[in-house]
Symmetry: D2
Subunit: 284 residues, 4 copies
């Protein structure tokens, strides 16, 4: 893969944004390999993602930031630029269920993932052997149901010590405290085992079975203080019918969960997701 | 299509049901063209649909019923038998939106539909010309928002006069009164323009847009007194993304709605649906 | 819908194309409502579609063309600009099967289609009544199997007389002569009832049944001299299984065919398709 | 899971088969938990799968066979009966690509798979560590391009020594010799990385890219002497577009391949597949 810079922008819409940004890039001979735009007429905002060959620019990332800053200020941009060769540092959190974890670990092992898994935190010790086989540190942080604060303080300490930029809840069965959700806002990714907003909360497959739906699904979303209400990154479904028991739904659902989580995480790692007003723009 | 009898059965599960039923059929040289079974271990019920060449049996439908009755009683069966050459009589109800209506009318016109459309009732007069082109009677029954009872009395009168066995709400935008739901229980089919239980109630595409979901859907279900809570017959979804406006969702949704309604209705017309405890068994 | 100009460009890739085009637009206060780009690293070409509020520009279409021409020349662009308020003129061609025709006619009737159906040509007279109900002229042009040239001369004459820009083969069962394919290259859209390149040629559902595939599909493509080999615009599939007869496949396939044709045609009518080297770029 | 016997039957169709079989079962108080039938009117054959609670029958598998044999003979049945508690012995064959192998190994590790992986054979040594972590023996059998017979003799010897009932080609990149295909007919399962019959043969993603298809797929099939022409068990597809490079297609395709192979293999392991005239009946 050729090294690229990814310039991601959200700002109030007006005439001339694309012209200004692309003229800036062209002035420095920046070669666009991918560009995506979105104008939202309902809120008057504009969103943009540009991928530029790093070798075509005379900048390192820092100089890029300095040179672009005046333009960003002029258009009141929320923006960032990332380097494809600085993969994001990821902490995975899991419980006892292994399907999402094993899927992500294998993608990482097979070099399919644009990120670096720097550790796995779990409230159980069951998955240690699987993780350590991949030469990834495993941290067993049990959660005391009567006082969860000790555990979550340790989680926070670990995330900081590992210098993690992304936290992935790969079927971690605990609810994170509001402070953590806030502190890492836009950086915690969860997989919910239903097609949200259907069957939010606990035991979604039991709810789905009871309601007799003909499709079950999974939702990858950013975690916010409002449980299962954060911005949705990706969703998918699979067909079920009357002959599928709850156990069948669980089994079928696992395949959807791991695919949806892997896709959603990939979008995030490649800087393809912009969050705005509790919704996402995903430049696939 | 060869003429068949469709024998549909639900009863408490136990050993020997299939043997008894199929031996009964074999005794009379009945040739099975299709057979579907389902045992539900969670409620202990058994469901069965058999399709038998009519020409292989020495019975008309009435004699079949008399001959089978003792077996049905022995096994406490809820059951019925239908003749593929007596298509069900259907009343369609519509409002101003034409996509579901036009789709069903064309399927009927092209002889794809295993049923007979005997009339269309609408609270508006807009679709009269389209319906009458098909030589189907059109009944304009306006609904007075201050007193809907007059209109629904007329609807009931028409359904009875037309001797309809199935009522299809093809985007009919009125809520039927509880008495009507009860009287025609298991015979009224609705298309809801969302993937239920997500976005029940009014303006589901607006809700879906606001929530930022990545798939939108449609649900075909039997109408009960509990709005949007009846047994689900069929569902499907279509992918959307951030660039889709509410208008786009409406347009994309129409294609899913008409497909899901057509499929759900076909299952009903071919006696493929059994309703039990607010869920359906659909022998596709 | 707000009136827009659609500027569609294909040219050899190099630094500065987007900057040049968007600066041109910004200079004249052009407000982008949608923009899509694609760089193809395998052939070194760049593709671009811009949608601009017409009211934001001081141009009519002709002045636009004059003002943009020097830029187009500099970058060796294949390009065109279209006005969303000048819907393309469409001729539909059909045979006896009505599902695709009825679907397109209804979309046009319901004002869902961004184009104007100016006539229907058929080698049979069966669908006249359906077409004429929509107040669209119907031309019955029988094809003599021993000498098809007379018929196709008449087709050509009609297309010219109707000043049609798009010809849609809505299950027209005749093969167009090479001269016609060439003359209207990139303007004839066909729906093939299989997932190409599987089952090209005649009776694809029979082939699919024989091979025992688990999905059947449909393909919307531009017509070229090489039968079923033209650039693919859109495809989709539907699941089948052992219990589906050829008749079931035909019935299920119809639903896919009409959806795929409607989607493919919409992309064309909205100037979302660029053809290059027998492939399409589709800016959905 | 409750222990069951699975009785799978194919025979010429006639009146009374189901009655005879189910009366046989009922006579011995056999409790059906699942039953599936299919009559094929085009070839006059009947197919049937019954799942019976083992505890409800007074038989072991051998006595079952003896008691049922006269009925089987009377109806000229091809049939077998299997015990859900005797999982089939599986040999996996792989090359260097790990995605299908890792997926199957994890399903086995997570006890999702109804079978026993007794060994992995590969023409390369790359995946040894992954396999041995699961405590499964790994056999490195290099294939000499100038004389493949030595390698395949060793493969045959290993399969026999391991007493394997199923051979799964999990992206094994070698073509098996005709003798092996014949000897293990109906027992070798392959995953082909295209939606067959499209893009049979080598490098299907390159072919798909070149043709510009809008969906790519994967096909799980039994291996026969005719390469990529064996009976299809399962297929699926995923959407691609002009922006997907061959590398993207390969990456997206992997997710489809492993899902399709896992589903196809599960059908086989649960005795849900009947092969007849190069097609499959799959009782999902």
């Amino acid at each position: 893969m050729e090294r690229t810079y990814r310039l991601v922008i959200a700002c109030p819409d007006r005439v001339g944004i694309v012209a200004k940004v692309t003229t800036f890039l062209a002035t420095y001979n920046g070669w666009l390999t991918e560009a995506s735009h979105h104008s939202d007429p309902t809120n008057g905002w504009f969103y943009m993602r540009n991928e530029i060959k790093a070798s075509s620019l005379p900048f390192d990332l820092n100089s890029f930031r300095i040179a672009f800053e005046p333009i960003a200020r002029e258009f009141q941009m929320c923006w960032h630029v990332a380097d494809s060769q600085q993969p994001k540092r990821i902490v995975l959190m899991a419980s006892k269920e292994s399907h999402c974890l094993a899927d992500l670990l294998h993608r990482w092992h097979a070099k399919e993932m644009d990120g670096e898994i720097v550790g796995v935190i779990s409230n159980h010790d069951d998955l240690r052997r699987m993780v350590e086989w991949h030469d990834i540190p495993y941290y067993h942080v049990p959660v005391d149901p009567d006082d969860k604060s000790v555990a979550f303080a340790e989680v926070e300490r670990l995330v900081d010590a590992l210098d993690a930029e992304v936290i992935v809840l790969a079927r971690y069965m605990q609810i994170l405290p509001p402070e953590l959700c806030d502190r890492y806002t836009g950086r915690i990714i969860n997989i919910h085992h239903s097609f949200l907003p259907s069957f939010a909360g606990a035991r979604p497959y039991h709810q789905a079975y009871k309601r007799g739906v003909k499709l079950i699904g999974a939702t990858c979303h950013y975690v916010t203080q409002d449980l299962d209400e954060g911005p949705i990154i990706e969703q998918d479904v699979i067909r079920v019918n009357h002959s599928d028991t709850i156990e069948d739904m669980v089994r079928l659902g696992k395949d959807v969960e791991k695919q949806v989580l892997a896709r959603g995480l990939r979008y995030h790692l490649e800087d393809r997701v912009i969050v705005h007003e509790n919704k996402t723009i995903v430049f696939e």
